[in-house]
């Protein structure tokens, strides 16, 4: 009896916490000033919120139907893996498109190479050469920037 009361309390707490985290993430996305600040809310807050909701659902079905449920854990793991990748790609897109940002967002220059920011061409790796059959290097024509 006591076990069910405690389990219900835990599930209710996880549900409300998930809702609050998701709400806070979306509120951050609505209120922050530029794109790179807006990226923080959804990638962290919303992911944590949905993790809470899915774990609450897993606990509920495990307790009420008396068998172990792991499908929700699968979704949680997938979201926790894919959210940083999405955030990284969105940040790269924002840097590439030269979005407006406020002064406090800008990092120091050596953090990014020029080709990461879109200021220069993507570096081409040097070609492997045969150890003894060296051929005269042809001069590569300089492409206009």
């Amino acid at each position: 009896m006591t076990f069910f009361v405690i389990a219900e309390g835990v599930i209710a707490f996880l549900l409300v916490a998930g809702g609050i985290f998701a709400f806070t993430g979306s509120l951050g996305m609505l209120q922050f000033k530029d794109f790179f600040m807006r990226l923080h809310g959804p990638t962290k807050g919303t992911t944590l919120g949905i993790g809470c909701v899915l774990i609450a659902s897993m606990l509920y079905f495990t307790i009420t139907q008396r068998e172990f449920h792991v499908q929700e854990l699968l979704i949680t793991l997938f979201l926790f893996i894919s959210a940083p990748v999405t955030g990284h790609m969105l940040a790269k897109t924002g840097l590439h498109m030269h979005l407006r940002f406020i002064t406090g967002t800008r990092g120091s220059t050596p953090e990014f190479r020029d080709e990461d920011v879109g200021q220069s061409r993507v570096a081409r790796p040097a070609k492997a050469r045969h150890p003894w059959k060296t051929r005269r290097q042809r001069k590569r024509p300089v492409l206009p920037r």
Partner: protein
């Protein structure tokens, strides 16, 4: 207690989705809209899971899984299109 928690959670997530849609409408640049779409699908997964809790069925988890995978793939595709001008080179 569980019903009240479920109602509060549903309300908060619907509010979050409304804010996402607002950002999707007013977003000044394309990556803002893309970020809003990304958050919208994540919130829709939460909504589907809460619907499954409300109706006491586990029918909807496959739908949530499908939305998670397709949303990730589509966000990646649009990011690559914006970055390189092409999806598969």
């Amino acid at each position: 207690m569980l019903d009240t928690a479920l109602m509060i959670s549903l309300m908060l997530i619907v509010l979050a989705m409304a804010m996402n849609i607002y950002r999707l409408a007013i977003g000044p640049d394309i990556p803002d809209r893309l970020l809003a779409l990304d958050t919208l699908y994540v919130n829709s997964i939460a909504l589907i899971v809460l619907l499954g809790l409300w109706l006491n069925t586990k029918t909807y988890f496959e739908a949530a899984m499908l939305i998670a995978m397709l949303g990730f793939v589509s966000t990646m595709a649009i990011c690559r299109y914006l970055l390189r001008g092409d999806i598969i080179e």
